[in-house]
Symmetry: C3
Subunit: 272 residues, 3 copies
Amino acid sequence: MIDFARMLGNVRERAPLVHNITNYVTINDCANILLACGASPIMTDDPEEVEEITAISDALVINLGTLHQYTVPGMFRAGKRANELGHPVVLDPVGAGASHLRTDAALRLLDEVRFAAIRGNASEIRALTQGAAAERGVDANEGDTSRTDLAAAAAAALAAKTGAVVAVTGVTDVIADGARSCLVSNGHPMMRRVTGTGCMLSALTAAFAAANPGEAFEAVCAAVAAMGVCGEIAHARLGAQDGSGAMRSYLLDAVSSLTARELERDARYEMR
Amino acid sequence: MIDFARMLGNVRERAPLVHNITNYVTINDCANILLACGASPIMTDDPEEVEEITAISDALVINLGTLHQYTVPGMFRAGKRANELGHPVVLDPVGAGASHLRTDAALRLLDEVRFAAIRGNASEIRALTQGAAAERGVDANEGDTSRTDLAAAAAAALAAKTGAVVAVTGVTDVIADGARSCLVSNGHPMMRRVTGTGCMLSALTAAFAAANPGEAFEAVCAAVAAMGVCGEIAHARLGAQDGSGAMRSYLLDAVSSLTARELERDARYEMR
Amino acid sequence: MIDFARMLGNVRERAPLVHNITNYVTINDCANILLACGASPIMTDDPEEVEEITAISDALVINLGTLHQYTVPGMFRAGKRANELGHPVVLDPVGAGASHLRTDAALRLLDEVRFAAIRGNASEIRALTQGAAAERGVDANEGDTSRTDLAAAAAAALAAKTGAVVAVTGVTDVIADGARSCLVSNGHPMMRRVTGTGCMLSALTAAFAAANPGEAFEAVCAAVAAMGVCGEIAHARLGAQDGSGAMRSYLLDAVSSLTARELERDARYEMR
């Protein structure tokens, strides 16, 4: 059993500062979800200052969405500095497999930076285990996300290769480290109608990892379960006229209001 | 008569992937409205990867808001690649007329890329027909938007010059191709109190054009009418304490919930 | 007594166009709050076009969040152009003290551009008065914000050094010019759980300064009070399931609905 309640409690109590080098589509959502969970965000991607910002932070997220050649060197500099300082680093390989720029950046980052956690959809994670692969955009395609077994295999393979905890999110989420795996079945398909739920989860993951040192696997499982439970809470609130606008706002509401007890009670997971 | 219901139905059914090279003010809103209408977004503007991303997409939007010299070359590369592949390309000339950088980029794009559709306000569209012109910011000024006849003339002129379907949005929206024009009188002034409604409509336009190949004029009319109808639905929901925050959220809700029947029933338009 | 009602009324009536060179986390929120208060936003940071855009605007905001080396030269060019034209320029030194890039940019801007107003938290303002100083992220730390007297001293010192009206926001907000100071005690801690409330206030400040020429001190006080009153209105609306998502939306609602009478009635301030 994983003590989800304690994991979330530590985030709220320790209020980690999370440095995000991230995309411009969901950068505001990532900042807001970090504030909602009790952490603090700092977003900066200029290569000139990322090391200083990483040094005053408790964790680092490297997210490859809207990747710019200009900011890639800063990802390496920040990642290495965070490694030196022992801060957890989370990789969100948005769109890996969809372009050479992204796939190459992701693979090179895996070579040079030690990640505490990697979170992506099945296509992205497979692109990292298999090298470049065709992918339809940044959403995993339907066929992939329903194939939990493939996802589990990819997660375990990437975890073995990198030493990171790997989370593959989809209809069922799979979290694996070299030894264990956990299937989380929280969440709601409506979350896929809101941009940035994956990016937001990666940011949450960094906050959970920073607040729970030495328990990266458990922390990632707790972050994934928390996001899923909040998606369910948000969906349950939707009224007759509500749609994706309300879903987005309710999701933030749910993260800011989620109690340790609710997370413990509503998390649905299975260890393997 | 335009079969609006079929146009929207095709977007929901075919779920086109829309590549956006767009501004950073409304990039999140554009991603969310594409998800809301049933399409999928992918946003990237680095010149190194735009051609690959365009190649896996079904349509391209080039939006000149927050224009950077750095990303301009990618607009040409992506636009030409999309032309080769036969994907519809939509231009949103945000702020054309307001700076040389934007006006020049827009005019050069018109020379080198074939657009399926161009959507802007009256000032922006006039800047493209007349070359550079003074403009007050990115909002059309009041005097312009009420002058439907001027807008119709500008739309027809730009359509004739470029071969694109041209949509000039304002109090009354005008859509023109070389032969026909359509006036749409849906929408609500409160939409102007939310940033990005123009950008969002341009993204919608690309989704409608991609899902309805060979019917660009009808598709653009349907996108414009859909946005207007959703603005009315959103406005009708506003309660006593609601303002522009709610308007923004309700607009996304409306797009995600809009049925083909509602669009057919509530679209108010006139062919000329 | 400050005539808050007239200050807000002038914003609504004169609808100033505010040019923002700002960060990518909260750029959408800044555009939306400007629209909500009755002003118009234009956001652009490419050095090639900022002078032209500043020239057609009524005020300029320079915000250092997500600072890029690439855009720094444009801050100087736009700032100097605005000075020549007599437009009020507002500095938001986000993260000053947290990195050399930001602190240096802020200090050099203070040397070369004349600011009508500077708005930051206590750590940021102290970094500008003392030169570089250690800071924990972009949020003021708790100890600082409660120390109103320190904030007042820093505000007065920076005002004396620069000639700007300086606003230090925290639990109690302090506004100072060379001669007077004003303490505003509106607002709610929940505002700190929404990213961008500081950036939004800086944008509001520019709108108020532009709409009330020759009354910079009063205009800044009115903007600060308006933001605080709106935070209270937003908080008062929160229902049992609402959290930071609703808070964000209600804040925009409140700004768009705020009447001059409400601002006059609910502003809590003290002149010193």
